[in-house]
């Protein structure tokens, strides 16, 4: 890691009794794409607004490009932001929007125009300078908002759920475009979202935030395959969540009794002792279906409850035979189970190393 562009140290923000950001520390490396992922109300917007300077932290320190930002007004920070609803100025043309920041810096008219046009060209909007903002499509507006910020060559670009307002198809497209833009410009991006797929696809590193704290910071692969907390396991990607009690701990593996007649095995994460209440997360694609019954401990039986056809993401909802619990299992792409019927009895198994077991949280918040 080279010198970080953004460091936060023990940053705290309270609103009355509510602690919105609870002593958060992290670093974002120069030129990387960092996402803050969390459900709404987790404090991510507050954190972003503190970085942008619209809110002053109650405690801790935020440094950008190695300089402390304490007491620095938002219009004097080397940070630009792409707002949730984009906040393009409706009273100005596209070109004027992009020139806005340059004009505030006192850049001359000709120079400004040249830079704005060059920037618009880079984001694929050559010739849109004279257009009105409301003449643009959703994706184009998005690019104007980014161009408007990047033309100022900020140390850091903040993005506040900028894809939230777009429809699904366009959102998928813009994801890719954003990633390419970031690679192209090499600017450090800090992106906040509640959409785990956006965070996984786009980021070099993701911080998963909950109740004002980071649950885990890591690469998308880390979060997906090696979640460190039950929250991360549940929030990132789809999972089957089972509860039960540890009935045997053998090194890295735990045997779990669900209490209603089902026994599964899973990889242990953190401290788990025999008899602890635990939570187990199994991803639908970690389980494998078969029609033949096996009598191994790793094999389970169930009845097809419903078929969830969704192209490549098709899955089947099973009811486990003994516990009557619902389990979601991905359908393999081979077409092998294309003729599966509701009510059919099947077997399924999963690799214990790909299921993860945590000691249950005491407060029981899901």
């Amino acid at each position: 890691m080279n010198q970080p562009d953004l460091t936060a140290q023990a940053v705290v923000k309270r609103f009355g009794d509510h602690v919105a950001v609870d002593s958060i520390s992290f670093e974002v490396a120069r030129g990387s794409f960092f996402s803050i992922l969390g459900p709404s109300g987790c404090g991510k917007t507050t954190l972003l607004r503190m970085i942008a300077g619209f809110l002053e932290p109650d405690g801790g320190e935020i440094a950008i490009g190695g300089k402390s930002m304490r007491g620095v007004a938002p219009n004097r920070r080397p940070v630009n932001m792409v707002f949730q609803q984009l906040a393009l100025f409706p009273m100005m043309s596209v070109g004027e929007n992009v020139e806005f920041g340059l004009a505030r810096r006192g850049v001359g008219r000709a120079e400004r125009r040249k830079k704005a046009e060059a920037m618009l060209e880079r984001v694929g909007l050559a010739g849109a300078t004279a257009k009105r903002v409301d003449e643009l499509s959703g994706g184009q507006r998005q690019r104007v908002a980014i161009a408007r910020s990047l033309v100022l060559e900020p140390t850091l670009l903040l993005l506040d759920e900028p894809l939230g307002a777009l429809d699904l198809k366009l959102r998928e497209h813009m994801k890719i475009e954003l990633k390419q833009l970031q690679a192209d410009f090499g600017t450090t991006f800090v992106y906040i979202t509640h959409d785990q797929s956006e965070a996984l696809v786009l980021s070099d590193h993701v911080g998963v935030m909950n109740h004002g704290r980071f649950e885990q910071i890591g690469t998308p692969q880390d979060l997906y395959y090696r979640p460190l907390t039950p929250f991360v396991a549940g929030f990132v990607g789809d999972s089957n969540r089972l509860t039960g009690r540890a009935s045997g701990v053998d090194g890295g593996l735990v045997r779990i009794d669900t209490g209603d007649g089902w026994v599964v095995e899973a990889r242990r994460e953190g401290d788990v002792a025999n008899g602890d209440a635990v939570e187990v997360f199994v991803r639908p694609e970690a389980a494998m279906l078969s029609r033949a019954r096996e009598s191994s401990a790793a094999s389970h039986e169930g009845v097809v409850e419903s078929l969830l056809f969704d192209g490549a993401k098709s899955a089947v909802l099973l009811r486990e035979r003994r516990s009557r619990r619902e389990v979601r299992v991905a359908l393999p792409q081979t077409g092998e189970f294309a003729d599966l019927q509701t009510g059919e009895a099947v077997a399924f198994r999963f690799d214990p190393a790909r299921a993860v077991c945590f000691r249950a949280r005491r407060d029981g918040d899901a």
């Binding site: 917007t45 507050t46 619209f54």
Partner: protein, 294 residues
């Protein structure tokens, strides 16, 4: 998410005080203090040159001179009638503009309702005078059509005053009505029909409750304007129109009896406040909400 609005840097006390100064000057010097002065004037009596004592004599005078309080009651009553008539006449038009006419037709109709009010009341009243006086257009027309044997004076009747008042009030009723009717979802009306209601029931159970704030707002404004009107009653009603504002003018400007004039002014203010409060109470609404709508 908690409201993350910035306590803007530089949002200090003096900035707020600076922004508050014009409002305080305006309301203090032009509204509050002048009305206090009016109150003081009305509650004192001159007993010698530049010598005054607190007294209710001006109010006493009002209640003991039948001409005064007759005028007062008459002004209030005619204003109420005019307000109600304006509401009844304006409602169908507001309905047509808000619900039936589409696109350009609605815009043009609305503009048509606006146009007369871009022109001062004096001009509009001049029009009515030319239309209605004995040598005017309407009598001449009626004679020509053989309906009347000879021209009749249409001015200087109470009905004429009412027509003028209604005419002047129309826009101020239509605008709040339209804005409250436009916000009524057509699906509610369709649903009511679908559930078996007829037109009258829909009007009573859906439309009027929904439009109540607009109706109240329009009625209050029209009532105030009518009560305080001067040109229309004096020109269409003639010398003896018996309008209370004229009474005030006479005391203040003609007779230079400021004490009596101030008392009359105060009574008019009390009357209008009472009727506005009663109207709000009756429809269960608050002043700020109602006025905010207009």
């Amino acid at each position: 998410m908690p409201d993350a609005s910035v306590a803007a840097p530089g949002d200090s006390g003096w900035r707020k005080a600076l922004l508050m100064a014009p409002a305080l000057a305006w309301l203090g010097l032009l509204i509050v203090l002048p009305h206090a002065e009016l109150a003081v004037l009305s509650f004192r009596e001159q007993v010698g040159p530049r010598h005054y004592v607190p007294s209710l004599s001006h109010y006493h005078e009002f209640f003991h001179e039948p001409e005064y309080w007759h005028t007062f009651v008459r002004t209030a009553w005619m204003s109420i009638v005019a307000t109600f008539a304006t509401l009844c006449l304006a409602f169908p038009i507001a309905w047509v503009i808000a619900k039936i006419a589409r696109g350009r037709a609605a815009v043009w109709l609305f503009l048509a309702c606006m146009i007369p009010f871009w022109i001062s009341e004096t001009v509009r009243t001049l029009g009515w005078m030319i239309l209605l006086r004995e040598t005017g257009v309407l009598p001449a027309l009626l004679v020509k059509l053989g309906i009347l044997a000879h021209p009749v004076e249409f001015l200087y009747h109470d009905t004429t005053i009412l027509v003028g008042l209604i005419y002047n009030s129309m826009l101020f009723m239509i605008v709040p009505l339209i804005s409250s009717l436009e916000s009524l979802d057509n699906a509610l009306i369709e649903a009511a029909y679908d559930l078996g209601a007829n037109g009258f029931t829909v009007l009573r159970k859906i439309v009027i409750p929904h439009a109540a704030p607009g109706i109240t707002a329009g009625s209050i404004i029209v009532f105030m304007l009518t009560l305080g009107d001067y040109i229309t009653p004096t020109l269409l009603g003639g010398k003896d129109s018996g309008w209370f504002t004229e009474q005030i003018y006479t005391e203040f400007i003609t007779r230079f009896d400021w004490g009596q004039g101030a008392a009359f002014g105060f009574l008019l203010l009390v009357l209008s406040t009472l009727i506005v409060v009663a109207g709000l109470k009756l429809t269960g609404q608050r002043f700020g909400d109602v006025m905010g709508r207009t």
